[in-house]
Each structure stands twice: as structure tokens, then as C-alpha cells.
Symmetry: C2
Subunit: 427 residues, 2 copies
């Protein structure tokens, strides 16, 4: 046997709380990608990582090894500064849609290699596919040309980036090791670094609708990713943002596009505007642009960039978006203040109505979803509309209502309001 | 899907430090044996067990589930009390050979379902196969008949006992999870309990030649197994015994049989006699026999039982045992006291000479091994023989000497002597 190391030896090092030396860690990732190291060995290793952690330098090496497993992109020949954003995902999180053209309006190239939704969180590509004609799959050349001409591109990530991460993520998914922060960080960052962006802003969410329910864990993930990006030469900052309540009023696909267009037109729900601007400020700052992103929302430049971005991918920005066959309004059962709209419950309800998928190969129903009439803090009277569910099949409303049970609470006093952006984390 | 539980859910429970409910744990073992739960899932679970432990009741359920995966034997119709012994394995550990006939001489049935050696520790079956004609494979009926007629039987464990353990052990071996005490305990005890013995004495070894180097870990394993046996209705005690020095003077196969016959003849090295008697006392006590086992060594009854036991399995107790073609004597380099004879080093040396095997399918050389001339505490002069290596191929002596480097130390003062049995652990 010509393998330089032994998988059991590497597993034991991590199991016993040690740091795996760089050469061994690089070998492990490579040998796993080649199939020499078995799934059973890698899952024992990932469980040991979950329980014993990884040092900062191990995380950097792991990430670099995953990047080395595939191709690297480069925006060097673009003649523009690039700025990228990544969100850990939430309910009603359509921020990429207004954000990418907004930042592009300032001459910054914004490559947004995105994914599809799975479970209760939506996917940016699913949302944009509500727009007639729009296509997610671009060649690398098409993507670069669009970045040059339009500045903003949202498209499917090629399968060539960090294939080791793809294999490892599929394994973690079935072995209870998704939640390991070093592995989450390296999974996200390996793809972002391989993309070749100069700077990156992370929207790390906490709360019921987020992957990390707990703010402390979210902070740890944010810090780990900021360190990792910095160690890998990408200017990285993170915002820690609240995902206990859905973002905006629209949760679905077509309705989230509609809401995004409202924001680009200078309107839209205040939380969506607030988070879009906070992230845009980070991206502009990283790109060395000293301007206020609110201006481009107000004067139409962001909307122009949006329309160019959609058209460049064969979408019609003026086409009517799909609407669902049936709607069902949920009304307040009593007078009072809306105190809670649980993001997880609302996300599950929208998913069940058809907005999301249970398996990667399932389609989504673009017109299905939930439109909130109010947000926490609103004063309502019994009988007032709280939200509208939309679905093609009215039989799904009962399943949506089940998911909503307990998710929406009305009390006697208004809840305290908190800013959506809680912390900013820098290297 | 008709599976009642989800493997990821079970893994998460253990990962997060919880106790897995009985029904889920039973399902996990059954589903893994069936192949529904994947190796990668089971290895993540075993790593979580290694790092987070298992409660006493979980260990009992796990063990019972492994027993339920296969057949159970019963000695109920035997008309004799049964007493079993298990050793965690060491260097020069031939105790089963004199012990089984010794205890059988008192009318107790002693079923010793044994294994073969792997790595630096020998296997009882390999040792007995040094005897011309002797066969390890018996049918269940043959085994029961021999227990009835002779009282003692040492034979290969059928593959029908605890097949889940076999599959799980092979997985642990390649995933760095062998060392989990709950899993070691359930692996050993599932087979012992499935065998159907009424009582069990465990010889749990610590020190360089043992699986557990550390006495505290060995004690934890002993306690875990005693609790588990007790919880499963088998009267179980354990002796914690020293394996820092090889047991007796012979390390190999044929030479260990020779040494065992010396013990049965009333002679033999004092440590082998001491441990044989200590274990025999435990087994007789558990069987309700109030007699001194030293008597049967002195008056020849144990030797008679040995001869009957060997003959019953077609062995010739009077046949000459094989001898090696070549020998090499290692001599003292200085005057002084032997202070150290490291069991691990001596065990590796004997293994390299051919007494052990590296892969399960390799043969052993029955005549190969090491015969010690002295033990720690002995006074030697430069040039005195310390040990003799035996092998068919003299080229192996250099490899044996390499393994012995640093294993034997001679100092100016005699080392303190310690009893071989350090603790007795009961429920």
C-alpha cells in the first residue's frame, strides 16, 4: 500500500482531542474524495470533530484541502472589485434579490452562486425561477460576461467547486454531524473562497427559523468563518441577524420576488430594507466604495440593475408572476398585540403549501406561500387578517394550519422591538 | 418507509450526551444487522458513544440487542453447574489451559468458547492446536456431550452467537472506536451471555501487554462488565490482574502448552499457578463448590481432566509438541537485577518470530516463541541467559531483537514485587 497515512491514526488523533497535522489532514480529504478512506471512517472523524472541535489552523487546512479537490475560479481579469455575500439561510430571506443589483449599481461586481431550498428554508434560485424565462444555469463565460456588463449575477454554483465538500456534506447529512461548527464553516467557506471573490460579507442568522437557533452558537460560527476567510486571504466580515421572525412579509417564491421588487422601487417592509442596506454597506466598504446604498434604492439605479440582471439571464422583469389557485386567510382570534410570529412554524407552513421541497429532486410551486398581513408589535382586533396562505391545492391548507399552530401569539402588551442586526463581527 | 425510527435521530441523542431509549437502541442494532442503518451511521454513533459514554441501562440493552441478533445456547439440560472465564488477553496468557480442566475436576462444567490470536496477544485455540490431532471445531452436540462427560471444553465459538457484535467489531476496528468501554464490555459480554453460562469470572488485565494499559481504565471496564453480567442474570466477578510482565516463562504456542502441563503436574511458574488458582477459586465459589483448587493440582485430578479434555477433541496428550528449527539466546549485558521485562515488547517479539499473526487468515508457527530464563527480580551476571527465541527461520531473530530493544532492563537494585491479582471486583 502506497498511502502515506492511516485513517485510523488520524481519527484517533481527533478522537483524543489532538490537532491533526497539516499533511495528514490534507491526505484525509484527498483520500476520502478518491474513495480510499471509507464513509464509515470519515463519519467517525466528523463525529470526533463535532465533539472535540478543531483548531483555527486545522479549519484553514481542511478548507484549503476541500478547495484543492476542485476547480478555482478567478475574477482577476474582470477589471472590477468583487464583493460576495452569503447567508446561512432563513425564512423569507430574499435579501440576495435586492442586494446584488443594489451593490452592482455602485460598480462593484457581485457574483452570487446560489442554491435551491430544502426543508423550511427557501433557495434563491427557486425564487428567481418564478420569473418567466429566467434561467439559473450559466456557463463560467456567461457568468463572467454578465459580471462585466451588468455587475450582478445570481446563478447555480458549478459542480466543479470543492467536490470534497459535496461528498462530505452528503455524509454529514445522514450521520448526525451537520452541526459541527468547523465543518459548517469549512463547507460554506470552501465554496466561497474557491469562487475567488476579494471580499465576503456573511449574514449569520440565529433564532427559530435559522440553522443555528442559539445566538452564542451563531456567533461562534460567524467568528470561525470570519477567521477562516481572513486566514485564506478574503476580506471577511459577518453580521449576526435575528431570524426568530420571518424576514419581510412574503414567504414563498413568487411573492418574495414581488417584495424584493418593492424594495428596489424604494418601498418594501422595513426589516428587509434595513438588512439589505446593512449588508450593502458592508460590501461597499469592503470594495472601497464610500457611498450610501440608500441612494441607489431611492433614485432607481438599483431597479435598473435588477432589470438588466434578470434580462441577462433571459428573464422578463415585466412579466406577471404566477399566482396560486387558492388562498386561505388566517385571522386573529382575539384583540391584542401580535407578540410572536415564529419563523420556524411559518417556514414549515409555507413549505407544506408547496413553496419548498422535501427531497432535492422535488419541484417547488412558485406561487405557493404565505403573505403576512402584520408583524410582531402590530395591534390587531379579533377577525383581522394575520396572514394569507396560497396554494394550488386547497387540501394543503389544513397541513399549513397545523404547522402554524402555536407559531402566532397575540398578547395584551406590545413586545419589545429589537434591531434585526445584532452584532458585527470582524477579524 | 416502515422503519419505526430514524438513525440520525438516535445518533443525535448520543452525540448530545443523552441516553438512547430502549426501543430505539434495540432498533438501531437490529437495523444495522439488517443493513438498513449504514456503516457510516453506525460509526458516527460509536464515536459518540466513545466520547460521551453510555448509561448502565443502555449498555445492558445494547448487549441484549446484540444477543438477540443471533442464537442463544443453553446448558440447562446438562445436570451440572457451569462456570465460565474470560480474559481480556495478554502476553503468555495460557491460563485457560490449566484452569478449565482444574475446575472441571470438581464436577463443574467449564465451557471455554475461545478465539485465535491477532497481533501481539496469543489465542487459546492456536496454543491447543500445537497438540497433534487436536481440533477446535466442535458441533454444539459434541460440545454439550464433552461438557457432560469430561466437564471441560475449549473450542471455537460458533458464528451464530451475536452476529451483530461481529459486524460492529469489524466496523470499530477500522474507525478508531475499538476503545469505547461500553462497546468493549457489550462485545465481550454479549457472546458470554449468549453462551448461557450461569456464572462468569473475568480476568481484566492492565499494563503494557494488555489491551488496557492503564489500571483505572481496566477497572472501569471490569466494573462495567460485572454490572452488565449481573444485570443480565449471570453471576459475574472480575479480577484486575497485572500484565506489565509476560505471564509465566513461555510466550508462544507449543511452549505455553508445555508450561500449562507443568502447572497441571503440580509445578510451573509461580505467577501462572497463582493466577490459575485465583480464577479457579472464583469459579468454584460461583458454582457453590467449597473446596481448595490447589488440591486437584497436587493430586493429579486436574491432569486427568486435561488428558480427557484433549483426547475428547482428538488430541494426543502424550504426543511430542513441535520444536523450532532454530534458537537464539539473549544474554545479560551486565551484572544486576532484572528490573523490567516489558510484556508488550516481548509479545511483539514472539509475534514477529511467527507465534502470532498479522492478518486473521495467516497461519501461526506453533513452535515459534520466546522462553524466558528469568523474571523481574532475578539476580543475573553478565552473560547469563535472559531468554531464548525460537523460530523456523533464523532471519527472524533480528526482527525479534528489534522488538526486544528496551523491553528488558537490568538495574542495580531488585524491583519491588507486586501480587499479580490487584483487585477483586464484584457487583
Amino acid at each position: 500500500m502506497s498511502e502515506p497515512f492511516d485513517a485510523v491514526d488520524v481519527i484517533r488523533t481527533k478522537r483524543d482531542g489532538g490537532a491533526v497535522p497539516e499533511a495528514k489532514l490534507r491526505w484525509l480529504v484527498d483520500a476520502y474524495t478518491r474513495g480510499y478512506v471509507a464513509d464509515a471512517q470519515m463519519s467517525a472523524f466528523t463525529m470526533a470533530v463535532l465533539l472535540n472541535g478543531m483548531e483555527r489552523d486545522e479549519i484553514r487546512v481542511l478548507t484549503d484541502a476541500m478547495i484543492a479537490s476542485g476547480e478555482r475560479m478567478s475574477f482577476d481579469g474582470l477589471g472590477k472589485v468583487t464583493a460576495d455575500k452569503h447567508s446561512t439561510g432563513g425564512v423569507g430571506d430574499k435579501i440576495t434579490l435586492p442586494l446584488a443589483p443594489l451593490v452592482a449599481a455602485y460598480g462593484v461586481a457581485v457574483p452570487q452562486l446560489s442554491g435551491r431550498g430544502l426543508g423550511h428554508t427557501g433557495g434563491t434560485l427557486d425564487k428567481l425561477e418564478s420569473i418567466p424565462g429566467w434561467r439559473a444555469a450559466l456557463s463560467n463565460d456567461e457568468m463572467l460576461a454578465q459580471l462585466r456588463d451588468v455587475g450582478a449575477v445570481v446563478c447555480a454554483a458549478g459542480s466543479g467547486l470543492a467536490p470534497a465538500d459535496k461528498k462530505l456534506y452528503a455524509l454529514r447529512d445522514v450521520t448526525g454531524t451537520v452541526e459541527a461548527i468547523p465543518l459548517i464553516a469549512s463547507s460554506i467557506m470552501s465554496k466561497k473562497i474557491a469562487e475567488g471573490t476579494a471580499s465576503l460579507v456573511l449574514d449569520v442568522k440565529f433564532g427559530s427559523g435559522a440553522f443555528m437557533k442559539d445566538i452564542d452558537r451563531a456567533r461562534e460560527l460567524a467568528r470561525t468563518m470570519v477567521e477562516l476567510g481572513t486566514d485564506s486571504g478574503v476580506a471577511t466580515t459577518a453580521l449576526l441577524t435575528d431570524m426568530t421572525t420571518p424576514l419581510g412579509l412574503a414567504i414563498g417564491n413568487a411573492n418574495e420576488v414581488r417584495e424584493s421588487v418593492e424594495v428596489l422601487a424604494g418601498g418594501g417592509p422595513s426589516d428587509v430594507v434595513e438588512l439589505t442596506l446593512a449588508l450593502a454597506r458592508e460590501m461597499l466598504r469592503a470594495a472601497g466604495v464610500d457611498e450610501d446604498p440608500a441612494d441607489a434604492l431611492a433614485d432607481g439605479r438599483a431597479m435598473d440593475a435588477w432589470r438588466r440582471m434578470i434580462r441577462a439571464q433571459d428573464g422578463d422583469p415585466d412579466a406577471a408572476l404566477p399566482t396560486a389557485r387558492e388562498t386561505h386567510v388566517v385571522r386573529a382570534e382575539r384583540d391584542g398585540y401580535v407578540t410572536t410570529m415564529d419563523a420556524f412554524g411559518v417556514g414549515i407552513a409555507a413549505w407544506r403549501l408547496g413553496a419548498g421541497r422535501a427531497r432535492a429532486e422535488d419541484p417547488v410551486v412558485h406561487a405557493a406561500g404565505i403573505d403576512l398581513a402584520v408583524k410582531p408589535g402590530a395591534r390587531v382586533r379579533a377577525g383581522d387578517a394575520i396572514l394569507t396562505m396560497s396554494a394550488d391545492d386547497p387540501a394543503l391548507f389544513d397541513r399549513g394550519l397545523e404547522a402554524l399552530a402555536g407559531a402566532i401569539e397575540i398578547g395584551d402588551t406590545a413586545p419589545e422591538s429589537a434591531p434585526i442586526v445584532r452584532e458585527r463581527i470582524t477579524a
